[in-house]
């Protein structure tokens, strides 16, 4: 029982961070209908920002989110303004090629600067735990990142539902042409959406950094996860991405224990296929063309 609880809880905690990555991707897709293959690399940039803040300036990784979030927002907005906005009307393949290319440029630039060595952030709490009782213990940094994730998600939800800009973003996501006719500056909404998506990915990077290791190609691990999460939850659905993230986290964790560590990815993908088979638009997705 302790093993089950332990893996369930750590699955939920790690799933929270996965959710953050998925939400960023789903936001970008929802607004622009662009599949962002550079998402993992943007996360990687966030990790390196955290690393720089920690080793050069001595800023705690969790505090550095305050710096990483706005910086990554600007970075994402820049990418959207300079590159992605130009291909919004192009065929999907070209959009994909562009984002893959951007991702490659990011990971290789980072490799030039930092080399391909693994970097680790070691904080005083990197391996500290919180005993919950019943032989179950939770990783403190993971718990903190889960709480930060929850806060950010709640804030994002509020932003999308209640503010004018948030409503404009949702309007753009629902129907680009109609939104334009209503006087919404669609291009600006796209920039904000991509900025937000990048900021979320960068934040996820910052949150993972204290418990994981950092290297230039780390993005590919998370790009794939982000896709599974987003498609599983329903492309464009924020709630779906949250559900998807936690579902993937728990599935990985439990299958590593009850089936085999080496097979956990297989279990995740089988689950993924099953969901698509019975609900092709994803858990929370509304099918639309």
């Amino acid at each position: 029982m302790a093993v089950f609880m332990q893996s369930l809880l750590s699955g939920i905690l790690i799933g929270g961070v996965y959710a953050l990555i998925g939400i960023g991707l789903t936001l970008i897709f929802g607004v622009m209908r662009v599949i962002n293959f550079a998402h993992g690399d943007i996360l990687m940039v966030g990790m390196y920002l955290t690393y720089i803040a920690f080793t050069w300036l001595g800023i705690d990784p969790f505090v550095s989110v305050l710096v990483t979030f706005p910086l990554m927002f600007l970075f994402g907005g820049f990418l959207q303004k300079v590159f992605i906005n130009r291909v919004l009307k192009a065929v999907a393949q070209n959009q994909i090629l562009l984002t893959i290319g951007l991702g490659l440029i990011m990971s290789n630039t980072v490799m030039l600067i930092f080399t391909s060595d693994y970097k680790l952030i070691s904080t005083s709490y990197s391996s500290s735990t919180l005993k919950v009782g019943g032989g179950v213990s939770l990783s403190t940094p993971l718990l903190v990142s889960f709480l930060i994730t929850a806060t950010i998600t709640a804030a994002l939800y509020w932003f999308l539902l209640k503010t004018d800009t948030g409503q404009a973003i949702r309007a753009t996501a629902q129907d680009r042409e109609a939104a334009t006719l209503m006087g919404i500056n669609v291009k600006r909404m796209s920039i904000i959406a991509f900025g937000l998506g990048s900021a979320l990915a960068g934040t996820a990077g910052a949150l993972i950094a204290p418990t994981y290791y950092i290297f230039p190609q780390v993005g590919s691990v998370f790009t794939l996860k982000a896709f599974v999460i987003t498609v599983l939850g329903g492309m464009g659905s924020v709630v779906g991405a949250m559900l998807g993230g936690i579902l993937i986290g728990v599935t990985e964790s439990l299958s590593a224990v009850y089936i085999s560590s080496g097979w956990k990815d297989v279990v995740v993908f089988v689950l993924f296929l099953l969901v698509l088979l019975f609900k092709p638009s994803g858990l929370m997705g509304k099918s639309r063309t």
Partner: protein, 381 residues
């Protein structure tokens, strides 16, 4: 053809008898193995200086195999047929060494492999292939012997990355514990680069093994130990078989690496003649700590060059002299013997280390020990 080549080689090698002997070096100087290749290069450079001091002039022919077996093989062909070297020191990786060993036998060129772990290399009955370092089975056996001599472990859990390196090292370990009557309670191969090993470790914890045997590179080694601490995995000893567990980066993670037991081929603390001086010289010259590869390469080059010189640059005589010889230096006593199915294998003494106060300290065998071992593993704070 072979005879012709041999004759040609002998003539070419004998004619400039007064000139320096040619010795080939194959090493991974670029590519993914370059960081370790650098240690080997530096070790050989120090050996070259010492040879000159001793009045032994050799001409080294350097070849970079970029860590790829096929490049390594063409380098060997070139050294054997065009450069007519007396002998070759190298290559580094197991894959390259295994490929080159065949060619060394074909061209009858004495090959001294300084630091490749795969057991099969010296198990194929080759006459011209020699190896300085202890092969992979010694890693497992020396670690498990250390644990059984320190305590009475009855159960063991294995966790290793699901690559060639991980599975082969743990396979020999599993065979060995079976002989020792230790029960395997968990056997987990994990995919490299997962963010979360907690559930796997929690499962291992539920079996409460006496020993935890891990095979990983450095990043995963630190991650595994961090998460072991998180879930409160508390065995009598953590055994780290090579790679990630013997790096300075790992030792620096004091909170999780303290008291982990690992093993190595060489350290500068060991009282083998010249080991300490070698470490000091290396640091002064290159500004870095030498790894065991550096010492292996240094000793290999000294032995190869001296033997080649004494044999007048004749390949067959060099081979016989290597086989018959006995040396004592930075790697301790070296002798290329036939035992347990190995040929021309130096039965090297592995050193078992434990991280104590953030430093690697030799704990076994006791005649080389620098610190008393801490056993069982203290409770996590």
């Amino acid at each position: 053809m072979r005879k012709h080549l041999l004759a040609l080689g002998a003539i070419l090698a004998l004619s400039p008898c007064l000139l320096a002997q040619k010795i080939g070096v194959i090493n991974s100087m670029s590519g993914p193995e370059a960081p370790i290749g650098e240690n080997i290069t530096n070790g050989i450079k120090l050996a070259e200086e010492d040879l000159i001091k001793k009045g032994i002039h050799v001409q080294l022919v350097w070849e970079d195999d970029t860590g790829k077996p096929q490049v390594s093989m063409s380098a060997m062909e070139k050294l054997a047929t065009r450069d007519n070297v007396v002998g070759v020191v190298g290559p580094y990786t197991s894959a390259c060494s295994n490929a080159v060993a065949r060619l060394a036998e074909k061209y009858k060129v004495p090959l001294l492999i300084p630091a490749a772990a795969k057991e099969e290399i010296t198990r194929q009955g080759f006459k011209y292939v020699f190896r300085m370092n202890a092969p992979a089975d010694k890693y497992a056996s020396s670690l498990i012997d250390a644990a059984t001599s320190l305590g009475k472990p009855r159960t063991i859990a294995f966790i290793y990355e699901n690559t060639d390196f991980g599975t082969s090292t743990s396979k020999t370990a599993k065979d060995y514990v079976a002989k020792k009557g230790i029960q395997v309670v968990a056997d987990v191969a994990y995919p490299k680069g997962s963010a979360d090993y907690r559930s796997t470790l929690a499962q291992i914890k539920s079996k409460s093994p006496d020993l935890v045997f891990m095979v990983s590179y450095v990043a995963d080694a630190i991650l595994l130990m961090r998460q072991s601490r998180e879930v409160g995995l508390q065995p009598q000893a953590f055994l780290g078989a090579g790679a990630g567990f013997t790096t300075a980066e790992f030792a620096n993670e004091r909170a999780v690496s303290e008291h982990v037991i690992s093993c190595t081929q060489w350290t500068e603390d060991v009282n083998w003649p010249g080991a300490k001086e070698f470490g000091k010289r290396y640091k002064a010259r290159f500004g870095k700590e030498p790894s065991y590869h550096a010492a292996c390469a240094y000793a290999s080059m000294l032995i190869m060059a001296e033997t080649a010189k004494a044999s007048g640059g004749d390949r067959a005589r060099t081979r016989d002299a290597l086989k018959a010889g006995k040396w004592n230096g930075v790697m301790g006593e070296v002798q290329f013997a036939d035992y347990d199915g190995f040929n021309n294998q130096n039965n090297h003494q592995m050193l078992v280390e434990q991280i104590i106060s953030g430093n690697y300290e030799t704990i076994l065998p006791s005649r080389f020990a620098t610190k008393k071992p801490v056993y069982p593993f203290p409770r996590w704070k």
